[in-house]
Symmetry: C2
Amino acid sequence: MLNLEQLGQNAVKAKIKLATLTTEQKNKALCHIAESLEKYSASIIEANKIDCKNGKEKGMSAAFLDRLSLNEDRIHSFAEGMRAVATLPDPVGRILEEITRPNELFLQKIAVPIGVIGIIFEARPNVTADAFALCFKSGNAVILRGGSDAINSNTAICNVMRNALSELSLPADAVQLVEDTSHESAKELMRLKKYVDLIIPRGGKRLIQSVVENATVPVIETGAGTCHIYVDKDANLDMATDIVFWAKTSRPSVCNAAECLLVHKDIAAVALPQIATKLQEKNVELRCDDTSYKILLGKISKQNLTHAADDDWGMEYNDYILAVKVVNTMDEAIDHIRNFGTGHSECIVTDSKETAEEFLTQVDAAAVYHNASTRFTDGGEFGMGAEIGISTQKLHARGPLGLRELTSMKYKIYGKGQLR
Amino acid sequence: MLNLEQLGQNAVKAKIKLATLTTEQKNKALCHIAESLEKYSASIIEANKIDCKNGKEKGMSAAFLDRLSLNEDRIHSFAEGMRAVATLPDPVGRILEEITRPNELFLQKIAVPIGVIGIIFEARPNVTADAFALCFKSGNAVILRGGSDAINSNTAICNVMRNALSELSLPADAVQLVEDTSHESAKELMRLKKYVDLIIPRGGKRLIQSVVENATVPVIETGAGTCHIYVDKDANLDMATDIVFWAKTSRPSVCNAAECLLVHKDIAAVALPQIATKLQEKNVELRCDDTSYKILLGKISKQNLTHAADDDWGMEYNDYILAVKVVNTMDEAIDHIRNFGTGHSECIVTDSKETAEEFLTQVDAAAVYHNASTRFTDGGEFGMGAEIGISTQKLHARGPLGLRELTSMKYKIYGKGQLR
């Protein structure tokens, strides 16, 4: 088993080569690797069976097993994702700015690869292929540290990709997998500052907390989303109902799903029953503050109507549960979001443009929506083509992390002997 | 004495107000504060005298005392710096991108303040005024943690600025100084993740290392600069001599000064004696590899010609000392820079455009120069007007940190009830 120090050194060697590849070389390689994934899908599926068997024996839930398991179709979709990345514009070499200074010094600020990216993720083996494709296209070497549940699948996918790179005489170390899936290996990776330029954790709160606590390598935090929808007194009720219903129930497990509904008091008596009734189509449990509880009592089944506890505010349920609160003013809604939001996606439903603009300006989050579902916070929906996660921090990139967000920059400066 | 938790809460309250100020309000405030600094300069100078007295008693060096001491002229220059920031474009509210998606969702990516910035710095009291001006103009609240040597000066400057803000009914907590100058207070500040969005350390290697090791708040590393100049075989010798001389001796204490000279073997026998002789005007000590030592033996005084030890490569001398090495190829120079550079500023002197372009592409640093001194890496020289440091890391900002680099971004998204 290679140690992390060795992986780091390998990645640094690979990144030097990757930074010099042309767009055509990169695209050709991605298509070749996609083909290899399909060609060798049997070996990947075989490895995946071991993971699934182990998962079953460990008593993994059906939902979890479903996310873990691979078949021809799923591997085909990895390959198609990789081909899609090949069609996206190359983010490297973009000219971000050009300035000629009064002393005739010519400055060119250009996009360059970040270098070596470490990605720490949990069960889903698709990350192995997806993350590689985005890192490779943006000229970065990647070190992947996946969870133990998918280690056989990840290893198989990684080996196919490495072999395919070698077939093209490209550095196989463009993608490396940490075989050791202990907590120690994750910690070591996030402290491998000598070789690694960026760590992206993809997973739950505990993983992200551990990275923030322990990393010495710069981190982009992703994924934690407690999204709010504020229904203003001037809201179109039908629109509000549809947006809340859709944002809560279309896919409750994801980070851009709504977790908390805030309703203006002037509209609450009418809006809440209508929205709550619609949510009963998906049997959503409503955890209510006193005012909304009183309004909804008798309007929906008692089983789905509960009193919110203190820790319901700010909770990311990832389930068919919604916290509900009546606010006296929009400022109260904004304050609530400030206190309990995670800076991911926040929404106002209102017909008043002024009110909307005030909300969009005051609320500090990666994405703030007027009259649209929070579920749109997504690389594909934003036109980036693919993403590696949603940044909820303020430095470097906020919102979906696409190819451009996986680049750094440098100044090339052309002189004629200027000395200052 | 306020504790850090309290300072954090105050800063968060202030940042909400700061984010809503108009450009005119901010500029007016900066001019008013500048005036106040001049008006109350006597009280600042009085406080500074205590710091200087303490410094003398502690045996502080003359150079250090000089950097610490304030007089009317220096305070006037702080004020002028603040007025200059008032004239710069407001970085907040810039539209970075606009997209209309096929589903008619309209996305606007705009620049917003980062929020609360913590700055940990060492002796120079000018940072108190300079850092505040840049943070304030970019809509951020700042918590300053200066060193103990300047605590009385920093407190006096901070109080004048806070009073001036209050006079305009603006939040005084836009700028707060941590009165406790212990290592513990610095550590606490860099872990105040609940309130602080960014830490910028300004100081020596030890400070930056401590921040990297301990911070949970995102960090922009600044300042460590081991800059190299590579004199290619096709260099114009007179230009090379001037660039090296100027980059080494115009101000050796700063991070963009040259620390290491790499010379191509084909030109070394002619170039080295000429450059070394010129450097003797400033009595520069040359720490040489074997080949350059042999070339220079007998050409300059023996006192300034020494053998380089292993740790001379990569050393930031901040003094009239230069490491010197002869390389067989440009690739060897690039490898040396890769191994020993700090990603700050690197330079090639050559008349060959192809060679220059190859160097500028291969070398991974914030600023890469063709035929110009590394000393140009500076916010003023880059046309930013002012800077808060030079970032040597790859995320968010690289090179001089001006006003734009002190902003984050968010997506405002305008819909018509889109549900996905």
